[in-house]
Amino acid sequence: MPHVAEWKKDEVASLKKLIESHEVVGMANLSDIPAPQLQKMRRSLKDSATLKMSRKTLMSLALNSSDKENITALEEHMDGQPALIFTNMNPFKLYKILEGSKTAAPAKAGSIAPEDIVVPKGDTAFKPGPILGELQKSGIPAKIEKGKIVITNDKTIVAAGEPIPRDVASILTRLEIFPLEVGIDLRAAYEDQTVYTSDILTIDEEKTLADIQKAFTQGLNLSVEAMIFNKESVPVLLQKAATQSLNLALNAEILNSKTRDILLARAYAQMLSVAAEASAKDENAVDDEIRE
């Protein structure tokens, strides 16, 4: 590298050192993150990850100089304002942490909607005025009601994946709807010869939770069905046995301490029922005690 400035050589060397000394190297996009927020995120990551912004060429040089097999594949994921992240934690966990630290941000003209942007029905803070026309022009169903501008129906104003038009962006901000997310956007992460892209790194925690419950239920079902005794299946089997026993005792009218009251009450209830029907025909058919 004959004409490369010294500081650039130093930066490549320092990046290379970070690459070699961490198990996981991530490629992130820092576009649109306001400086104070970035400071805050950097600080919160301090113990678990190191974030380095640099020029694309220098990052490429560092990746290419690394001995780590296949790590240059990260170059394909340099988007926007790229940065490298170095950590020893599980890349999935890194992704989860970064996603979790994202915050809502106002719409920007031309930004792609990450999901459907919906203007919910209900009151607005606006008094009647020209804004009504602006809302209507953007396709938001609005009218004046009791001296206020009210949105009459939920309206999907920008579909997921579509760019946000300029006038819509301004309306959304005035409605205090912040549809964008800003934060460190991990595009890909390298670990042990493999580059995981963000779609793979996405964890569905709810599904995991549901799967755990499913596994437990299946295990319990199988245990009960196959009569395999463990501390989960035995209570269910005991309940089953107790229910069946109680059913048998009651249906066979066998009196014991458990069935006695129920059977007596049943006789009484049956008597009342017959009495009610008899007295409906002729009230003299039953005595005063029942008529009360």
Partner: protein
């Protein structure tokens, strides 16, 4: 209520619910029998499906009731 129980008893044992039988049961239970009431009951029960009335009742277990 004893009149009704007597009728239900006869129903369960499969005996006819008539004056004679109801009186016999009531007397066995030490009851003084009111002939008019027996007559009224038997007439009224003629149009009642006892089995049906019995089936309609439901009793909750004490534990369940307490729940």
């Amino acid at each position: 209520m004893e009149y009704i129980y007597a009728a239900m008893l006869l129903h369960t044992t499969g005996q006819e619910i008539n004056e004679e039988n109801v009186k016999k049961v009531l007397e066995a239970a030490g009851s003084e029998v009111d002939e008019a009431r027996v007559k009224a009951l038997i007439a009224a029960l003629e149009d009642v499906d006892i089995e049906d009335a019995i089936q309609k009742t439901a009793v909750a277990a004490p534990a369940a009731a307490a729940a």
